[in-house]
Amino acid sequence: MMGHSFELSIGLASHAAWRVTVLGPLAWLGLLLSALAVHAQPSRPTLPLEDRTNGHHTLAVLNEFFPAALACVVHIEDSQGKTVCAATIVDGDGYVLMKASELPELKHMHVKLVNGRAAGLREIRRDSRMDLLLAQAIGVTGLKAANFGGTRSLAHGQWLCSGSGKNRALRIGIVSANRRRVPGLGAALGVRMDEKQSKNGKGVRIVSIATDSPAEAAGLMAEDVIVAIGDERVEQFKRVHEIVSKRQPGEVVEVRYLREGKTLASRVRLASRTKVLQNWEGEDFANGGISLRTDNFPDVLQHDLPLVPADMGGPLFMLDGSVVGINIARVDRVTTFALPTEAFWAEVRQWIDFDRQPPKAQSVNVD
């Protein structure tokens, strides 16, 4: 590894170590053994899918009354009608909340309402601290809004549920860990770079690309030579660190690079640095992927609902239909974060009030 630089070296030794020693057997041995087990034990009784924790027999009782509560879940679609992510209706006059880093811009997006109608969106407030985006569905009133309730009584083991996917299929899970602040380390591309300058003195050579990383998604490859990020030419790996680490997960940067003598450019959507480093070889595979931004939240509830990144922005319910938060990050196979009501609701209410009645310019008395 000498002479190669990850985007960050803090704590890397320990991450690299547990990847190999403990994650290795758990994931790889498992994949290896699955075929064997099928042949060896054909007749063991296996719980049918519909009777499992998230099977429809288990959930039938909830599905009897949940459709009403799920009416506050809507989806954002792009201009081709493709579902981008979920959103929560927070006020009958069309105000919706979303996960900001999933929607760098709202220009060509529309919201698909429960009755099948679509409406354009007006961006009102983007808050990077909580990763929330407030918008209003244009010309829509009379929507059913989420009924936010307090979360102070929630303890480990409390059942929670959410809708998943376009058809809002109900999913249940529990409060699974302590409520807390989740620190962050900024953004990353997911590239390991050569510490030496490239031969012709121009650019920074990519040594390897992290699995499921922003760089991989944007089509960057090992041996590409990065020559510029945004408007700035780069010649040293340290400078790439500096530029990227000042950005936020979810932001888009343009990377220009040399490949086989040609200069190419890719738009890369950055992800949380912590996650890219811990998941370098895809160890934390999450059956459906993880969110770009998974950290740097002031306050989260952690739960084990089987959701996917596009479900983020949707509401998190108690079994009685009250909403305790907004799902904000799919982190790994066992972890989803939600912002609890108290973390955002008072502030969001103010944004809505200001939007309805912008504070008038105050007359100033000069004595």
């Binding site: 320990s14 170590a17 547990w18 020693t21 403990v22 994650l23 057997p25 758990l26 994931a27 041995l29 498992g30 994949l31 053994l33 699955s34 087990a37 034990q41 063991r44 296996t46 719980l47 519909e50 009777d51 499992r52 924790t53 998230n54 429809h56 027999h57 288990t58 959930l59 039938a60 009782v61 599905n63 009897e64 949940f66 459709p67 009403a68 009416a71 480990h156 083991g157 409390q158 059942w159 809002r168 249940i172 899970g173 529990i174 409060v175 699974s176 860990a177 302590n178 807390r180 602040r181 811990q278 934390d284 059956n287 952690q302 084990d304 089987p306 079994l319 790994d332 196979r333 066992v334």
Partner: protein, 312 residues
């Protein structure tokens, strides 16, 4: 609002709301004690989980976590306290392993293990604890609730989703007893594999007392009763001498460097283990040891395996 179009077959017993709420309150009742018995295990290069199953500090974990008998492992309790344990028996075939916390003075917080294997049937509710991704004090242990999906000869499968770092952690039944130890994951979300109590109980019943389980893995042949490790100077050193063993009676001490056995130079652990195993109970071996720069010879009469010794 129209009903969602899910066909509910009247023949199939549905889970009613009451059942879900009972599962919730039972898990919440059992969680404090289960959490106290959960530990994080930090071996040389990895972090994993384990569970204390006796007040004397016996620990269940997975074989791929501790790797081999006699290993020193760092154990982190849920409040962040760090203590030490030593791995005992390891069953590579089933991934079952035992360890012993070294501090014997205190009664450790513990949970019971289930001895009724038949109870863990597909469809039963269960809950999992562990430290996925490693110990994180702010986050605390991570709880998952689910159902048993399948039971095989040595394993349980559940839909309690696991990931790296959970290895060795406990799966509980609704009585708060340990029914599984997290072992593997397959590709699908519902494919989480735990070692059942079967491999543990099989060996347990054969040996009965915990002193006996301490020396699992020493195997057939003569019994000496030392655990070894390789020092930084690549010398073979006595890491620990087992209580009541012939080595202890002959004056072998932890920290002694083993130079020779019956005149043969000893340079690594496998060679030493094989040399001891090759002797029978009653055989006399000459050990050449070094301590604080001084060499000495110790004569040890090997005994039977500790199964018999524990009944002395």
């Amino acid at each position: 609002m129209a009903m969602v179009g899910i066909a509910v077959n009247a023949e199939v017993p549905k889970t009613d709301l009451n059942t879900l709420l009972q599962v919730q309150s039972q898990v919440q009742k059992l969680f404090p004690q289960a959490k106290a018995a959960l530990v994080a295990i930090q071996t040389g290069g990895g972090t994993a989980s384990g569970v204390i199953i006796s007040p004397s500090g016996l620990l269940l974990t997975a074989a791929h976590v501790v790797d081999k008998p006699g290993r020193e492992i760092r154990v982190v309790l849920q409040d962040g306290t760090v203590t030490m344990a030593k791995s005992l028996g390891v069953d590579q075939a089933t991934d079952a392993a035992l360890a012993q916390l070294k501090d014997l003075a205190k009664p450790w917080p513990s949970v019971n293990l289930s001895r009724d294997l038949g109870k863990a049937q597909p469809g039963e509710w269960c809950f999992a604890l562990g430290h996925p991704g490693g110990f994180d004090k702010a986050r605390g242990p991570v709880l998952r609730v689910g159902k048993i999906v399948k039971q095989t000869a040595n394993n349980l499968h559940s839909d309690c989703v696991l990931m790296g770092g959970d290895s060795g952690g406990p799966l509980f039944n609704m009585d708060g007893e340990v029914i599984g130890i997290h072992s593997q994951i397959w590709e699908e979300r519902d494919q989480n594999v735990h070692v059942s109590m079967a491999p543990f109980l099989r060996s347990w019943d054969a040996m009965q007392a915990s002193q006996v389980i301490r020396v699992w893995g020493i195997g057939a042949g003569g019994y000496l009763g030392v655990a070894t490790r390789m020092t930084d100077q690549v010398e073979l050193e006595v890491a620990d001498v087992i209580e009541g063993s012939p080595a202890l009676r002959a004056g072998v001490l932890a920290g002694d460097v083993i130079l020779e056995l019956n005149g043969d130079a000893m340079t690594d652990q496998h060679q030493f283990t094989a040399a001891v195993k090759a002797k029978a109970a009653g055989d006399v071996v000459n050990l050449k040891l070094r301590r604080a720069g001084k060499e000495r010879q110790v004569v040890v009469t090997l005994t039977q395996k500790p199964k018999e010794e524990s009944t002395e």
